[in-house]
Symmetry: C2
Subunit: 162 residues, 2 copies
């Protein structure tokens, strides 16, 4: 978690051939894409936890470790460790043997994440992906879309739905 420097992350202009290098796709620009991807991998787990905690609170009034574990398909021990990390990041409040709550910051992240999730699902639906697949694939794609892409998705969906 210390690999991605937004300052050096200039968006890379397109190559011309197969996906290969060109005058525009220099090695270090390509490197910045990969750094961006690595950074996304690191943050998406955090976002998944936070979004799920928000869902549980909304549905059941509280987010218990055991439910988080069940829905993520991991063990309670893993959840416990992760919650400690989220707490340290000031995304959740958690006391021993009590369920987990979101801080303002955490809720903000959850909302943002959830909105992205929905936009991606909507876009997939519009381009013809069936609903089940859309929900399955959105889990993952949502973390890799820049604000620009999400905005484009939103606009596109608005213009094309129904």
């Amino acid at each position: 978690m210390a690999d991605f420097d937004p300052a050096e992350d200039e968006l890379t202009p397109p190559p011309e051939g197969t996906g290969a290098i060109s005058a525009h796709m220099t090695p270090d620009r390509q490197a910045s894409h990969f750094k961006r991807a690595r950074h996304a991998r690191e943050t998406e787990i955090i976002e998944d936890y936070v979004e799920l905690i928000a869902d549980l609170i909304d549905e059941q009034g509280e987010a218990r470790a055991v439910d988080i574990a069940k829905r993520l398909g991991v063990t309670g021990a893993t959840v416990n460790k992760m919650v400690a990390r989220l707490k340290q990041m000031n995304l959740v409040n958690a006391e021993p043997y009590r369920s987990v709550f979101l801080t303002d910051e955490g809720r903000e992240m959850a909302e943002a994440s959830r909105e992205r999730h929905h936009i991606v699902v909507a876009l997939l639906r519009v381009v013809g992906v069936d609903e089940a697949t859309a929900w399955a694939d959105a889990e993952g794609m949502e973390h890799r879309c820049s604000p620009e892409t999400l905005m484009a998705f939103k606009e596109f969906v608005k213009r094309h739905k129904s």
Copy 2:
């Protein structure tokens, strides 16, 4: 790398509310989405390496560790370790102090990966994402699309490109 069992990966039908649980989105179905996502995270690095090696071979006739490192934005030591792993997976052939070559299996993976990459870029372009952003975002999204979604993208692009 031993978490995802395709056998239990039934696609999850959609929920109805905010993204929350419903009769269709049972906890273990949601868990399978997250397992799928974790699996994708594990394989995408492999795919990035393999695709990049293919690019380098096509462009320069060979893939040297130093060039791989430069384009991925990692150190040579990291590349070395990863190449050893790729070799063990029978995706590349590599001899000490020589550059890296793809096995048939590796080239197959590279082609598939590259094709997915291009489809995603094309889809993004069609829905209005600018070219630079499309290339940046495709790095990452390409690994998270199911065959169904890619097929839908392909069809959609075919129907909509100017």
